[in-house]
């Protein structure tokens, strides 16, 4: 094997890598193919994949790439759905080796981690220390660094907000190879200007774009606001502004008592009204004992996908809601009574509802939630189909209208679909399941229509998946070219030679 590596090094396109003889570099097509694709099955190509083992390795690679104009794509664990990690030439920096949990500080409720720590591993380490980290994207086999680059969210975002809310500090290697250490609360924009001070003392001034972000859950384009914290620019920037090499995260004490339930409804309207009522009681209402941490919806079609694995789903159910509510032991009885009252008020099927007796059952309800996504994937693979799935969120008061319009659109087109999602956040995953190329093209048209509808109602085209390379045209439509150009200017300030994660968020032409 040593001989093979030698050969690879000889072929290496970046001379500086040769001097780091310990660094693994792969270019054998069989070995690197997993770095050329993501969970959306979007495919790309590259010259080689390098595996730095330290922040210094990354600095060396980036500096050399910046000098030679070599394009760099940073790879997480390939669980994304937008093509953001998929290279279109140049080299891939796989952060896989930077995978240590450096420290968990129980007293101060924070943790220092490297970017390639798996979210699932991090969460189980914390659990042993009676701590927890709220961001919980459905796919937990992802790298922490990537969850920051995409500002990932999940079911618990309903109560706790997205990843952004839990990032205290970041170390970022800028596309010039300079290091930037940013701590939340230390550096704010003034008059739409951010001044960043790098490790070498140079100053970079960034003009914050002036578009207004939707007030919904949102992960599309750079985070901006006239008085923004510098750290927020790098969270959700999809790797276009730098490579995250170390991060300090805020963690919380593990909730001891969690009410967990799946409630079935005999019509969708009752279920949607129930969600709306739970949201109103939970949000900005500290007096309310009802305080859901997760609030998710499944339509009848989604339930049909699950019934083989969960035979207790009542046959007549037209909709279901899964929810969790953390509580204090002393409030248990009052809480249960309040939930019974609310479920009955909205005609939820109280007799057939599922209630977790213990954490083992609570976990099985979480599995129920997670099963939807993989059952759909399984169905697609088995039938050799491609899905077209929305990721929109709209203002709460518009959600019902939006939801029914989307369903009408898809049903009128005669395309098979399932609907579910984080309805607590008015965030819909409507997965269209076209059965032919013609239907696929029609579904893509509908996707664009649904994005337009969301934007027209004051919503977003992407609430959590991000833009990557697959959704740029919709972002362009959402913000308009003027603001895409402002975003590209931010990138140019930090990446003057246009080398890093080119093609994410906006196309390369805006960097010329």
């Amino acid at each position: 094997m040593e001989g093979n590596n030698e050969k690879i090094r000889e072929r290496s396109l970046i001379p500086v890598l040769l001097s780091h003889h310990y660094m693994i570099i792969k270019n054998n097509p069989e070995e690197i193919q997993t770095y050329l694709v993501d969970a959306a099955n979007y495919k790309g190509f590259c010259e080689e994949v390098v595996f730095p083992e330290s922040e210094n390795d990354i600095i060396n690679i980036v500096k050399e790439a910046n000098k030679t104009g070599k394009k760099i794509t940073v790879a997480g664990n390939g669980t994304g759905l937008t093509g953001a990690r998929v290279p279109e030439g140049g080299i891939v920096i796989a952060t896989d080796k930077l995978n240590s949990i450096i420290n968990i500080d129980c007293d101060n409720q924070k943790a220092l981690v490297q970017p390639a720590v798996l979210l699932a591993d991090f969460q189980s380490e914390l659990k042993e220390k009676e701590l927890f980290y709220p961001p919980d994207p459905t796919e937990t086999n992802c790298f922490i660094g990537a969850t920051i680059a995409t500002n990932a969210s999940g079911a618990r975002t309903f109560k706790y907000g997205p990843t952004r809310n839990f990032v205290n500090k970041l170390n970022v290697i800028l596309p010039t190879g300079e290091i930037l250490s940013i701590e939340r609360g230390k550096n704010f924009a003034e008059d739409n200007k951010l001044t960043l001070l790098t490790g070498t003392g140079s100053e970079i001034i960034v003009n914050v774009p002036k578009y207004k972000m939707p007030g919904t859950k949102h992960s599309a384009g750079y985070y901006v606001n006239p008085r923004m914290d510098a750290i927020d620019l790098f969270i959700g920037a999809e790797g276009t502004l730098g490579i995250i090499t170390e991060v300090e995260l805020k963690v919380l004490p593990l909730p001891q008592n969690v009410f967990s339930s799946v409630i079935f409804f005999s019509n969708e309207d009752d279920a949607l009204s129930f969600i709306s009522a739970v949201r109103n009681k939970s949000k900005d209402n500290p007096e309310s004992i009802i305080d859901a941490s997760a609030l998710e919806y499944f339509d009848e079609r989604a339930l049909k996908f699950l019934i083989d694995d969960f035979p207790n789903i009542p046959a007549e159910a037209k909709a279901a809601v899964w929810l969790e509510n953390e509580f204090e032991k002393k409030d248990e009885e009052i809480l249960y009574n309040k939930w019974i009252e609310l479920i009955e008020k909205f005609n939820g099927d109280i007799d057939n509802a599922w209630f977790a007796f213990d954490n083992v059952e609570r976990k099985s309800f979480q599995d129920f939630r997670h099963a939807v996504s993989w059952k759909v994937s399984e169905y697609l693979v088995k039938n050799n189909l491609k899905k077209v799935g929305t990721d929109t969120a709209v203002p709460h008061e518009k959600f019902k209208e939006f939801y029914y319009s989307c369903k009408d659109l898809v049903e009128n087109a005669g395309i098979d679909y399932i609907a579910y999602g984080h309805f607590g956040d008015s965030h819909l995953h409507l997965n269209m399941l076209p059965k032919s190329e013609n239907e696929y093209s029609a579904a893509k048209e509908l996707y664009a229509d649904i994005c337009r509808l969301s934007v027209s109602l004051g919503g977003t085209i992407s609430a959590e998946h991000g833009i990557g390379k697959l959704k740029r045209e919709y972002l362009l439509e959402m913000y308009g070219e003027k603001y895409i150009i402002e975003m590209a200017k931010v990138k140019k300030m930090l990446d003057p030679n246009s080398i890093m994660n080119i093609g994410n968020i906006f196309s390369e032409e805006y960097l010329k």
Binding site: I340, I343, F357
Partner: protein
Amino acid sequence: MKIAVCVSHVPDTATKVNVGAEGKSIDPNGVTYVVNPYDEFAIEEALKTKEKIGDGEVVAISVGPDANKETIRKALAMGVDSGVLLKDDQFRDSASVAKALAEEIKALGAELVFFGKQAVDYDNSVVGQMTAEYLGYNCISVVVDFKLDDRKVTCEREIEGGKEIVSTTLPVVITTQKGLNDPRYASLKGIMAAKRKTIEEKQPAAAENKVEIIKMKKPASKQPGKVLGSDATVVPELVRLLREEAKVI
């Protein structure tokens, strides 16, 4: 009619189990305990039977320490009417557990008794049958379909390579297998009611253990894997090792 369902409180199969310091028992520290999964089929079938008859009382019985109350409480939350803990902190073997259960079932006058086909802690798969023997009841084990028609019981049971249909009459002990039913989740009202109900504690009938645990140990941990390489050139070596070392081909 009184229906008894016998339940066991066992380590969750997903939990990491360690042997206690004295080398004869499971160390309960850090172990999550659950209702024995096969017993959930027994509870469900008892409840379904009661619902079908439209009358009757289902009583859950467990032998063991205070912690077993949690399992009884789950049965109550699912809809069981009452629970009895035959409290004993000491180790009891299968026969001794069966003896205690038989005495209690006799006292209750239950003629229909459900057990899980085995408990997933010690996996002896004998307590149901032994209890039937002590009671002088009929017994059908590993049941995947259960029908009660007046006093006649007809069951389908799993056997090696197939199924057989067996019939008998009450009184009977049934041990339940996966496939018999889909256990319900507890209802919220059930959970609330279960929290309020008191679980009757009783002294179990004395019985001598016929089995003594001499030593308990964990299986040898897996050998670390070997990485030969990552391309086609290592295949001949892989084949050689599979043939000569692992002896699997």
